[in-house]
Symmetry: C2
Subunit: 502 residues, 2 copies
């Protein structure tokens, strides 16, 4: 093994000692980044073109040093970043990470094996089966979604984003439907979500060739109890309409925790409708699924046993880093039937999943061929933290948002627009002189948002639902503590005072 200590003849592409030295420096750089993260504006204050203008037009012909690169990252890149890991980041949903996730990613890239079929790296496939079962158990999914102990066709896969989960399940659903109604009737198929379903649902449906006229987004309203959730009666009416027109219901996407306000659709009643019309029923719990590792949140999943598939993204709230969307299905055989294409060059002793060969080949569960060793990241996150610490992390975030909600409630100038669910509160400032003019209130809150975000001290985002413009305050980074919530609230109050004075 002596040759590894030397620069190898292949241009020193990898020398373990050099790697060790440089990687230590990058570790230090990341550690320093986190100690300084609060000193950067959370929302980058650069203007379009500012970063590009500082960088050369062509790649260097000669090797540059790590020092030069890190210097540019400090001087050029970091000022152009919006810092999602800042403890003062309260926008959108979080995309959090943790030490364990970083270590997992290092190993994933260190091994750099594409586990497209079982044989080309058995541990990638089998570890993924194990952790998907672990996580399914943690969020209390029924055994029918597991590899072990269920029907034999259940199981899960790690993908990049929710769009992958929709692609795969919609494809399987349509493949099954076409066998009944014939390819010539493909354009009669209809998919259903609500106007609060994540926008990727509409986007993916269009890209997958669902007739653009057949994508139904059921309007939601600010009703008590279940604000902005999908109404099963309205859904049924829409479907009856479609069926009367000769269309064919195909796919229903329910949500547990919508992006705007964390609305939760009534899964049991939606399942009734889906069953009646023979639709594939998918549940998107991208953000809120993580909360379901705590028993007190699992009731939001009531009815999930009747879904055909469920997806959630540990990369949002479960400390795993980006690119970790978990999808579970009951009938993986339908997925494989729709997805499987086996060119000769990928064939091997174990490459065909059949009844007599139950080996999982994840290439048949996704569109692309190659795939990263993402399971090692999730595995290390679950083991390093342990289930109880992960539950505490969720509960701590929820508690901080509950405190924030109390602050808002205690200031009569503000209004909670949608009751808090999970770790998100939707609120707005009201100017009594606006006489309930939505336009005036919207303008006021746009100004408030601009005031807090352009300060660089915190980053909050907004939405409009039911015609109401509101601010969204969501807690979820690994560094956020009570003191950050208090400071954020003070800044928001300061903005309100200034704006109402003018």
């Amino acid at each position: 093994m002596g040759s590894f200590d030397l620069v190898n003849s292949n241009g020193n592409l990898f020398n373990p000692e050099e790697f060790r030295k440089q990687a230590y420096q990058v570790v230090d750089f990341i550690a320093n980044y986190y100690t300084q993260i609060e000193s950067y504006p959370v929302l980058s204050q650069v203007k379009p073109g500012d970063i590009r203008n500082q960088l050369p037009n062509t790649a260097p012909s000669q090797s540059e040093s790590l020092q030069a690169i890190l210097k540019d990252i400090t001087n050029v890149i970091i000022p152009g970043m919006t810092h999602w890991q800042s403890p003062n980041f309260f926008a959108f949903f979080p995309n959090n990470v943790s030490t364990a996730a970083l270590l997992g990613e290092m190993l994933c890239t260190g091994f750099n094996c594409p586990g497209f079929s079982w044989q080309v790296s058995p541990a990638i496939t089998e570890l993924e089966m194990v952790v998907m079962d672990w996580l399914a158990n943690m969020i209390n999914l029924p055994k029918s979604f597991l590899f072990s102990g269920g029907s034999g066709t259940g199981g899960g896969i790690i993908q990049n984003t929710t769009s992958d989960a929709i692609i795969m399940t919609l494809h399987a659903a349509r493949d099954r439907a076409i066998k009944k109604i014939g390819t010539e009737n493909m354009l009669k198929l209809v998919v259903y979500g609500s106007d609060q379903t994540h926008s990727t649902f509409e986007k993916v449906s269009k890209a997958m060739g669902i007739n653009p006229n057949n994508i139904r987004l059921i309007p939601t309203v600010m009703e008590k109890g279940r604000p902005f959730s999908m109404c099963p009666l309205k859904l049924r009416k829409e479907i009856e309409n479609d069926v009367a027109k000769g269309l064919v219901p195909l796919y229903l996407c329910g949500s547990v925790g919508t992006t705007s306000t964390n609305a939760v659709d009534p899964l049991e009643q939606l399942a009734d409708v889906a069953t009646e019309y023979g639709m594939w029923f998918h549940v998107d719990a991208a953000y809120a699924g993580s909360a379901c590792i705590c028993p007190e949140f699992q009731h939001f999943f009531n009815g999930i046993e009747r879904a055909d598939s469920v997806s959630m993204n540990p990369h949002k709230w479960l400390l795993t880093g980006l690119g970790c969307c978990c999808l579970w299905v009951k009938r993986s055989d339908l997925i494989v039937k729709a997805m499987r294409v086996e060119p000769e060059y990928l064939k091997n002793e174990w490459s065909s999943t059949t009844e007599s060969n139950p080996v999982v080949n994840f290439k048949d569960w996704q569109l692309g061929a190659s795939r990263k060793f993402n399971s090692i990241r999730l595995w290390i996150v679950l083991r390093s933290h342990g289930v109880e610490n992960l539950q505490n992390h969720i509960r701590s975030d929820v508690q901080m948002v509950a405190d924030f909600e109390m602050f808002v409630k205690s200031d009569p100038r503000f209004e909670i627009v949608v009751p808090r669910l999970f770790a998100l509160v939707c609120f707005r400032l009201i100017n009594p002189n606006n006489n309930n003019s939505e336009d005036a209130n919207e303008l006021l809150n746009r100004k408030l948002l601009d005031f807090v975000n352009s300060s660089g001290k915190i980053y909050v985002s907004h939405t409009i639902v039911g015609g109401i413009y509101m601010l969204r305050f969501c807690v979820g980074t690994m560094l956020t503590e009570e003191c950050h919530i208090i400071a954020a609230w003070k800044l928001i109050q300061e903005g309100a005072t200034q704006l109402l004075k003018n």
Copy 2:
């Protein structure tokens, strides 16, 4: 900033000192993995279930130590891996990595920012624009594919796999076509590739709702000069046939370097056909595109200026680590028109790409919302190595395969089936007693493949093209040196001797 030295109240989710300590250990672990990589069987020798059976059924409730995790990786995971970074890996195409790629991935995950729109991390978008222009220049793409200095609608994006590139371009092509022919005629659209086009083309086309009867894979043959490349005459004939039937040609996928044998389609002549029938012309150069950073290989791209889009995967042969597929398009406006869905919660001052607001928002160039900071990885790879070293790396691999080809040619028991292109050679063993029976030769070469792969010493893969079963020997890992080629050839010869004796 003192609080960072302490365990924070949020359950110590990130403590920079603890991170530093643990990350150093993982760096050491990876460095050690590489020093020992030749001691592991290249192709894992485990049986299905071997890994799962060693792992518990449920996640631990309490935190586990890094030591315990690394021990399991050593004892359970590594024996279950097929080592793609081993210098003795010659199967499929490489998926290589390098120190620079590892450092880039650490920073990407360290920052963990999803750059879905410009504002949510301007540096992610702008650095991606810069490196995509860099790489386009390196492979000599015309300016029309660049952000800078071209038509104003050109540009590139980093995606995960070739399937993403096909999704995006096929979607844009269909969206444009439907505006002309009407949604009701969607099922008349036809897509064209060859029987050597990567299988993801067929898979993605089906998933995207292209009529499964309208996916044409033009048969190729072992002709001299351009073995297994798409014949423009055959293509034209097929299209004429389709048009006569009232069908509508939509999309043509050409290849520079097919997966089985590295066949190169005649781009100029294919472009003639595509232009004549108003088709979108995409060029997939997943593997061989990397070679085009060397001027002597750029002639394979002759005609590329007439393509609508080009994709290549630096994660295969350009030392960047998995998940780096680069796609360039001339008409990004068509992509954005097809892709753009803008929910309120994602709107901001810069979120709409229009003529008056030329800011790029990559969410409109892909299906999913979130995306990783992959450009930092590619940027660090290009800067750390520099263009000349990267060219040397390609040339060195090509030279090693040329040597291997010479070895094969010098042994009369073997035959080169397809002349070497780039760093792949396709060959087979011939038993003169087989009297040219393809079945007998196939069996012989299957046995030879099994002999070398089950030895654990090297990993080679196979294909069948034009009815001929052949072995594929491809060089591309960062550690492979001449000595590994020599040893691999000796092993193959040894297998041949044993098999021909029996």
